[in-house]
Structure formats: structure tokens, C-alpha cells
């Protein structure tokens, strides 16, 4: 467990040294979201109707955008070899990397989303729900995106490929994340959506670390 904590701490410290990388991702989230009212028009009822979907899609893109370097940096400077050589399970290391990624992207996205939701005219209870779904859903995005990042390690054109691999696998999380918010706004069953969203996170937690570890091992060969 100490290795796990050490890896999370190291990655957070690295982000701390270069806060610009995270700032760019969050800025992308804000700018991308802002484009929708400009493209669709400022009608309040239309914006409130699409807000959940737009914010969730933008969060998904922002999370994927930042995943490109998750393992690539370690791969290029040789620290991935040190992770592969660490005398504790590589699956835990994979989890630690995704965990660190979530802390620096998923958490801020969940915090930022309600502010943008206000601009879309969402009610305060819905804003809270939006934040809650992102809090529970973004770990899944970090895990699935982490897998795509590990699979594309050392590939040609890895950025676009990463998105192609991760997006279809993220569809259930998108459906239930945006669906939960919409359910609350339209008087549907928020709880059921939210429960499935949490279940999806658990499934990702149970399956992706093994696959990421396998992908990292074969990248090391």
C-alpha cells in the first residue's frame, strides 16, 4: 500500500510542478461548453434541456484529452520500467496512476460543472446532481481512458486512437451520468440512474486495472 500512496503522491507532485497542464484541460472544458449556446442559440429552455448532455460530453472529452500523457511520460523517461520492476502488483500501480489522474481532472471538473450549469439555467438542485454524477462517473472515465492510454503506448498517432478506443467504452457512463441529471430535472428516477452509474464505476474498477497492467507489461517488452 505504501507504494500505491507513493505513486499517487509523486504524480500529484509532478502536476503541482506544472499546473498549466491541468489548467489547459479545465480551460478546454469551459471553452468547449461555451461553444454550445453560441452554436445553438441562447434560448433558455433549449439550453436547460441540453445542459446535462453537453456538460457530460465536454467533461468526457476533457478527461480523454488529458489522458494522452498518463503513461507516455513514464514510458519516455524510463520510470515505467521502475514501476514494472516494483515488487508490488502492477495492477495497483495502474490504479494509482488513474487515481492521481482523477484527482487532478475528475475532481476539478465536478467542481467546475455547476458553475457552467448556472450559465445554462439549471436549477440549484440539478446543479448539485450534476456535480454528484460527475464525481461518481469521472473515475470510470479515468480508468477506461487509462486503459486506452496504456494500449496506445508507443503507437503511431496515439492521441486520436486513444479517443477512438475509449469513447465507445465510455458510452454507458455518459448515458447514465447525463440521464441521472435529466431524470432529476424532469421528475424521473434519479436514484436508479445514479446507482447504475456507481455500478459502472465498480465494474471499471474491477476489470480495467488488470487490463492496464497487461498492456503496460507488453509495452515494456
Amino acid at each position: 500500500m505504501s507504494g500505491f500512496a507513493a505513486l499517487v503522491a509523486r504524480d500529484l507532485r509532478l502536476v503541482w510542478r506544472r499546473p498549466g497542464d491541468v489548467a489547459v484541460v479545465l480551460a478546454f472544458f469551459v471553452v468547449a461548453t461555451t461553444l454550445f449556446p453560441l452554436g445553438i442559440g441562447p434560448e433558455a429552455n433549449v439550453l436547460a434541456r441540453i445542459a446535462a448532455g453537453v456538460l457530460w460530453c465536454a467533461a468526457l472529452f476533457a478527461a480523454l484529452l488529458s489522458l494522452d500523457r498518463l503513461f507516455a511520460a513514464d514510458f519516455e523517461d524510463g520510470t515505467l520500467d521502475l514501476l514494472l520492476l516494483a515488487p508490488w502488483p502492477l495492477e495497483l500501480a495502474a490504479l494509482a496512476k488513474c487515481c492521481a489522474h482523477w484527482i487532478v481532472t475528475g475532481l476539478p471538473l465536478a467542481a467546475l460543472a455547476p458553475l457552467l450549469g448556472v450559465a445554462f439555467g439549471l436549477e440549484s438542485s440539478v446543479l448539485l446532481a450534476l456535480s454528484a454524477t460527475l464525481l461518481v462517473g469521472t473515475p470510470t472515465l479515468s480508468l477506461i481512458g487509462g486503459l486506452a492510454a496504456a494500449l496506445t503506448l508507443g503507437a503511431r498517432k496515439s492521441g486520436a486512437l486513444l479517443a477512438l478506443l475509449a469513447l465507445p467504452l465510455c458510452v454507458p457512463t455518459l448515458i447514465f451520468g447525463a440521464g441521472a441529471v435529466e431524470a432529476l430535472a424532469s421528475g424521473g428516477d434519479f436514484g436508479a440512474h445514479f446507482a447504475v452509474l456507481a455500478a459502472l464505476a465498480l465494474v471499471a474498477l474491477a476489470t480495467t486495472p488488470w487490463a492496464i497492467a497487461a498492456a503496460l507489461r507488453q509495452a515494456g517488452e
Binding site: 505504501s2 507504494g3 507513493a6 505513486l7 509523486r10 507532485r13 509532478l14 510542478r17 506544472r18 519516455e76 523517461d77 524510463g78 520510470t79 520500467d81 521502475l82 514501476l83 514494472l84 520492476l85 516494483a86 515488487p87 508490488w88 502488483p89 515494456g220 517488452e221
Partner: protein, 209 residues
């Protein structure tokens, strides 16, 4: 001869659909050094990576005190001090942070008290708080070697350890290696240059059939 610590038997490795070497056997006793020599592409790095279990060999066994390394891979990995052709350093962390983080990633107890001697051994004390980003190639190599010393691992696997080192740094490396061997450790180093230690054995990897 003392009973061997490390026994490698009939190792064969394949890379990119091509067999790099086969039926490779050697054994090392306490304090023994094996220098791997051979042309570029003869499989020195592949052998080191196979020994570290970073790649799966096609055939053969690696035994430490009679126990197969692949039987308990985590225990085996815990015994390794690794220097690859990449330094394994984070450019945005300082020298000291890099060394301490690497030790914690191995799950080792806090290494703060051992840090100074490793830094001194490679004349890095004045650079300890500098970000690796700002160091020269030789200074980075020295930092990576200090990382290996800090592990206190019984088995060193080194890929071109003398790369980019100037004469004083090479001397420091030889001294660290000699200390490691005197304490009963073993070392395997891929090298083009003479490691300059008496009593070292060499294994020449040739072009495969």
C-alpha cells in the same frame, strides 16, 4: 568455487519475430561481476530485460539461491537494482526527490538517512535540490547510478553504466561497484568499454544463427 547465487540456464529470447540468443547459460557467485559484451543488436539489453522479467523469455530458467525467479516475481524484483539505457528520472523533480520517490515506489522504508551517502558517492550533494531538467547528461547518469546504490539490492543489472560519465564519475562508479561486490552482491553490466575492475568475467553475445 562457492555455490552460485544466480544461475541462468538455457535462456532463449526472441524479439520482433527474430531469435536474439538461445541456450545461454551462466552462473554467478557472491561478489562476482559479469560484463556483457557484443556488437549493437547482439542482445545485451534484451538479456538484461529478460533477467529483470521485463520481457518473457522463450525458454530457460533464472534461479536465485535455487529458487526460480518467475515463481515469485515480486520477491525477485525486490532484489534488483536496475539501470536501463533510460535514466528513469522525472525531469520536474529534484535529484533528492527522484531518489526518494524511487525508493518509496519499491516499497522500501524511508531512505532519507541513506540518501546522503548515495549522493556523496557520486558527488551529487551540491545538486540535490536541483531539478533533473537542469542537469547535464553525465549528471543525470550519476543520479541514476545513485538510485541503484540506494536500493541496497543484491543484484545489479546495468545497461551501459559508463555512458556519458567523465573520468572522476567513472572512478566513483567503480568504487561503488567494488563496494557492492565486496558486500557479496552480484552485478551484470552490458558495456562497450572496459569496466576496469579486476576479476570480472565477460560473456560475449554473438550474432545468432
Amino acid at each position: 568455487m562457492a555455490t552460485p547465487l544466480l544461475e541462468v540456464a538455457d535462456l532463449a529470447c526472441r524479439r520482433g519475430g527474430r531469435r536474439v540468443f538461445e541456450r545461454l547459460s551462466f552462473s554467478l557467485g557472491p561478489g562476482e561481476l559479469l560484463a556483457l559484451i557484443g556488437r549493437n543488436g547482439s542482445g545485451k539489453t534484451t538479456l538484461l530485460r529478460a533477467l529483470a522479467l521485463l520481457m518473457r523469455p522463450e525458454a530457460g530458467t533464472i534461479r536465485w539461491q535455487g529458487v526460480e525467479a518467475r515463481g515469485e516475481p515480486d520477491v525477485w524484483r525486490g532484489r534488483l537494482g536496475w539501470l536501463g539505457h533510460l535514466e528513469g528520472l522525472k525531469a520536474d523533480l529534484t535529484v533528492a526527490e527522484n531518489l526518494l520517490a524511487a525508493e518509496r515506489l519499491r516499497g522500501a522504508p524511508p531512505a532519507e538517512d541513506r540518501l546522503d551517502s548515495a549522493l556523496v558517492a557520486f558527488d551529487l550533494s551540491s545538486l540535490a535540490q536541483r531539478a533533473v531538467r537542469t542537469l547535464s547528461a553525465g549528471q543525470r547518469r550519476r543520479t541514476a547510478l545513485a538510485r541503484v546504490v540506494l536500493t541496497q539490492a543484491p543484484i545489479w543489472l546495468l545497461d551501459e553504466p559508463l555512458n556519458a560519465l567523465d573520468a572522476p564519475a567513472q572512478a566513483a562508479f567503480r568504487e561503488a561497484l567494488a563496494t557492492h561486490l565486496e558486500s557479496g552482491g552480484v552485478a551484470i553490466a552490458a558495456t562497450h568499454a572496459d569496466l576496469g575492475l579486476p576479476g570480472g568475467r565477460t560473456l560475449e553475445l554473438g550474432t545468432p544463427t
